[in-house]
């Protein structure tokens, strides 16, 4: 009975969508979206470098990236907190407990996922594509761009997977954002707070929205992977 009532109120909150709820959703999307852009801007060039160039420590960097794909968000939150705290090396920037701090923490979480999965997609491109490009007169740069284009579905899957990860995480942004109402409060931190307070309706409403976003993200990954799977590459 209690559960049914809670769900009923949660749905009415979603339908009513008040300014506070909308603000929380938009901030979540803004923080995670910005983090994803930063992670992609750094991760994709690194993935390309690892995919196309031979250099010392390459294997070690790839191993580190794969390990960091499973970074615990609270550890990232703690490290970013120590960096940005007043006595930390970047304390002078006064970014702690701001959306910027949350974006930094989520960028760190998303970056290894984007870089590692993009790298896997790039090295997974059939070598005959490289030969075909060369035989048609492509320069080394054009060959690289062709391979990245061929790997686009795998790269997109990686970017979407990273978005899913940062949208759902709570540990890092809670530590560096502080969950300040109207300023750094996002969906996951609100769920944690409202559950603590016993205000399950709002927590449930946000949980449903978060699950819907997650469903959309996973559907997008599936569609992208299906598109990429057309033909085995002759």
């Amino acid at each position: 009975m209690f559960l049914a009532e809670s769900f009923k109120t949660a749905f009415s909150l979603i339908i009513g969508l008040n300014a506070e709820l909308l603000g929380i959703i938009l901030l979540s999307l803004k923080v995670s979206g910005s983090a994803l852009i930063i992670a992609t801007l750094i991760g994709l060039p690194l993935a390309s470098l690892l995919g196309f160039k031979r250099f010392r420590l390459k294997g070690m960097i790839i191993s580190i990236l794969h390990t960091f794909m499973g970074l615990p968000p609270v550890v990232v939150g703690l490290l970013v907190y120590l960096l940005l705290s007043r006595s930390g090396p970047l304390g002078f920037l006064a970014l702690l407990y701001s959306p910027s701090a949350m974006i930094i923490a989520q960028s760190i979480l998303a970056f290894p996922i984007v870089a590692a999965l993009s790298h896997s997609a790039i090295v997974g491109v059939n070598p005959v594509i490289t030969q075909a490009s060369l035989t048609l007169g492509a320069t080394p740069y054009q060959v690289s761009m062709t391979i990245i284009r061929e790997a686009r579905y795998g790269i997109m899957s990686g970017i979407i997977a990273a978005f899913g990860r940062v949208m759902a995480e709570v540990g890092a942004i809670l530590i560096v954002g502080g969950n300040i109402a109207g300023f750094t409060r996002v969906m996951t931190t609100t769920i944690a707070l409202e559950t603590d307070k016993g205000n399950f309706e709002l927590a449930l409403a946000l949980g449903i929205i978060l699950l819907t976003i997650s469903l959309v993200i996973n559907s997008a990954v599936h569609i992208v992977q299906q598109k990429g799977a057309t033909g085995a590459g002759r």
Partner: protein
């Protein structure tokens, strides 16, 4: 003046197995050159070396235009092309696959469209221009590879076993395409095949690769 190839004393070893030894070959007139030989005798390796995709262990590949040697740079690589047995289809439409060679040369717009359409018609793939190229059959994929090469108007076209993995119908179509290219003086064609009958049907100049050397030609 068309481009001429001179391969002198080419040697290539894989895993201590000497595939090519002092292999020499040159041509000065247009036509169809067919390189035949048993499976695994080094035909494909020799072709890749001639097409500057692979380096020989010893010997030299040189290209001449008139009497002067052409530098082995990007410009030369864009005057010759090789169609591999595994074509390497780009994950896009048939049209964009054929357009690739033009795009990387900065050729776009009406000229590019006309050239792509012409190449597609030549290989009888015009009706599949908007299809995802990875959904083509093996025979159609080989024809796509030839269209992709023809659109860039190479002076020398290397075809490595173009009918090795295709059915009889597509073999006939591909052979017709090659003979039509000769008729239209589109390019000097160098083909490898292990099919002696096919070699006889196509060759203006027949070459045999045996024990790492080209024996006739």
């Amino acid at each position: 003046m068309t481009l001429r190839l001179s391969a002198s004393n080419i040697g290539k070893t894989y895993n201590s197995d000497q595939i090519l030894r002092d292999c020499s070959f040159s041509f000065s007139e247009q036509g169809i050159y067919v390189l035949t030989g048993a499976n695994g005798c080094g035909k494909s390796t020799f072709l890749r070396i001639c097409a500057l995709i692979e380096e020989p262990d010893s010997g030299e590949i040189n290209y001449f235009s008139d009497k002067s040697m052409v530098q082995k740079n990007l410009e030369l690589r864009r005057r010759i092309t090789l169609v591999l047995p595994k074509v390497g289809v780009f994950h896009t439409t048939v049209f964009k696959n054929v357009d690739y060679g033009l795009r990387i040369r900065g050729i776009r717009g009406t000229e590019a469209n006309e050239r792509v359409e012409k190449a597609l018609e030549f290989v009888e793939l015009g009706h599949k221009r908007n299809q995802n190229a990875r959904t083509l059959s093996s025979g159609e994929t080989q024809r796509l590879g030839i269209a992709r090469a023809l659109v860039i108007k190479p002076e020398i076209l290397f075809l490595d076993e173009p009918t090795a993995s295709v059915d009889q119908k597509n073999t006939r179509i591909i052979e017709d395409i090659i003979l039509n290219m000769k008729q239209d003086s589109m390019a000097t064609v160098v083909i490898t095949t292990h099919d002696r009958q096919q070699a006889a049907r196509l060759a203006d100049h027949l070459l045999v690769l045996k024990d790492g050397k080209i024996l006739s030609g």
